[in-house]
Symmetry: C2
Subunit: 280 residues, 2 copies
């Protein structure tokens, strides 16, 4: 590797990543964070927030498909969806593939992330012009505290739990999410790496279990998130989530019924995670 | 991250990794490669060959458990095992946990890797003193061409397919492996990352299919191998390998029956990999 590189600055990771870079397409500061768009010969365009890679064109579909389609197939009939965060539009794109979904409320803190995505990532941001979509630019924690609405599915597409991101990982926020869920509602949130942050993952699972009837954990391997064995904590007020309750109707690159089932962590591992006996 | 760091030099990866390092415990050149042992505050001791991390004390068990136990549980009664490579002893340690195994032949090119492992990684190298173990230091490709023996299981624990490592990924070598397998024999080899090297993985699977009746693919997420969605190509002359044919008797940190089954890639993904329609 030689030439121009980008050194990632991920405060949550014991490994730092270096990417080859062929250009800086955008660099700006919003009220909340530094926003950079890089061009990489290996990964296409990359969105970087406060020095941490959020997505690359090459592999974003893994994260967005597995964040959106597991919960939307586990729920028997999702009509209304709340996305907290996800200003790049990738999760929105996947959610809109479901014909059952009649209304999506997206609440993104940083309007500038949406604008940058519309400009540089048209493959992700197309959903913003869909008539089913309603966007609010505000703090998601405020939104769920005040929302009069109920949703069948709530998806939190958050950055790491640092700075503003921290607010989306609190007991208060989880309780507020529960209060905006419909009777058969389901909730999913990314919860970092099982390799590097398993104590954090366990803490999230235990705290969610105090509020939700069903709490499970699934993972996907992501090459561009340090720690890479990325977890999603998924909670339900009624139905199990480790199997599809609806037949797959969406076209995907990776997600399918088998990937859905296999993503859920083995029961023994889940038990060890929760009782604190995981020894790595 | 600040202070003393190690910049990995992995020619096979589009991302380069940087690790914090608290000391260099050993540095030497063998006839075949540069061998370094680092101390990391995050990963414990690390073995580095020609600038590429081979293992860390913190997470080596993932790789070694999943390399050894999938094949040894898929085989109905493994008595004799050939390990090609694996001079650090980690795979050997796992193989020896099986009471059915009466004889293990380990063939490592570089004697100095074994010596360094015995000195710095006693948690891995303990198996070398087991009376069931026979060690030869020579080129594994020569060994399988000349071996009079037959083995129930052949495990190739190789470095990346560069330099000397290349020889362990050729048609000739695979054919020679087949010739040393017993009638119900099975063969497993690491085949790089499904994220970064899927064309390589596909090529390996297709070439193995020309020789073996059953060829399957399983993966584990490894934080310290760039590309991390690490593949193992597993081939059998007779039995399927995606399910355990023997009940688990070994004590493990990660491997179990459910992890075994879930590690095999979804059928749709496998099909797309083989027909060249994987689009990432």
């Amino acid at each position: 590797m030689r030439g121009f590189v980008f050194l990632e600055n991920d405060p949550f990771s014991p490994i730092r990543y270096i990417y080859r870079v062929s250009g800086i397409l955008y660099s700006g500061k919003s009220r909340y964070q530094e926003i950079v768009v890089l061009e990489s010969p290996d990964f296409g365009k990359m969105l970087v927030l406060d020095g941490v890679v959020q997505l690359t064109e090459r592999d974003e579909f893994f994260y967005h498909e597995m964040l959106a389609h597991v919960i939307l197939h586990a729920h028997p009939n999702p009509k209304t969806v709340l996305i907290v965060g996800g200003g790049d539009g990738g999760t929105l794109r996947e959610v809109l593939k479901h014909s059952s979904v009649k209304r999506v409320q997206l609440v993104e803190l940083d309007r500038q992330v949406i604008e940058v995505s519309k400009r540089f990532f048209p493959g992700l941001a197309g959903g913003f012009s869909d008539p089913r979509v309603h966007v609010k630019c505000m703090d998601g924690t405020h939104y769920v505290r005040q929302a009069g609405d109920h949703f069948d599915v709530v998806i939190v597409d958050a950055t790491d739990p640092v700075g503003y991101g921290k607010r989306l990982f609190t007991d208060q926020f989880f309780a507020d999410v529960l209060s905006v869920l419909s009777e058969t509602g389901m909730f999913v949130i990314q919860t970092e790496s099982l390799h590097f942050h398993h104590k954090f993952v366990a803490d999230m699972q235990i705290r969610l279990s105090k509020l939700f009837k069903v709490v499970e954990l699934y993972c996907i391997p992501l090459a561009t998130y340090a720690g890479n064995w990325w977890t999603f904590s998924i909670a339900s007020t009624k139905h199990p989530v480790d199997a599809q309750n609806r037949k797959q109707e969406v076209i995907t690159k990776y997600y399918d019924e088998e990937a859905h089932k296999k993503a859920f962590v083995p029961r023994n591992l889940h038990r060890k995670l929760l009782d604190g006996s995981l020894d790595w």
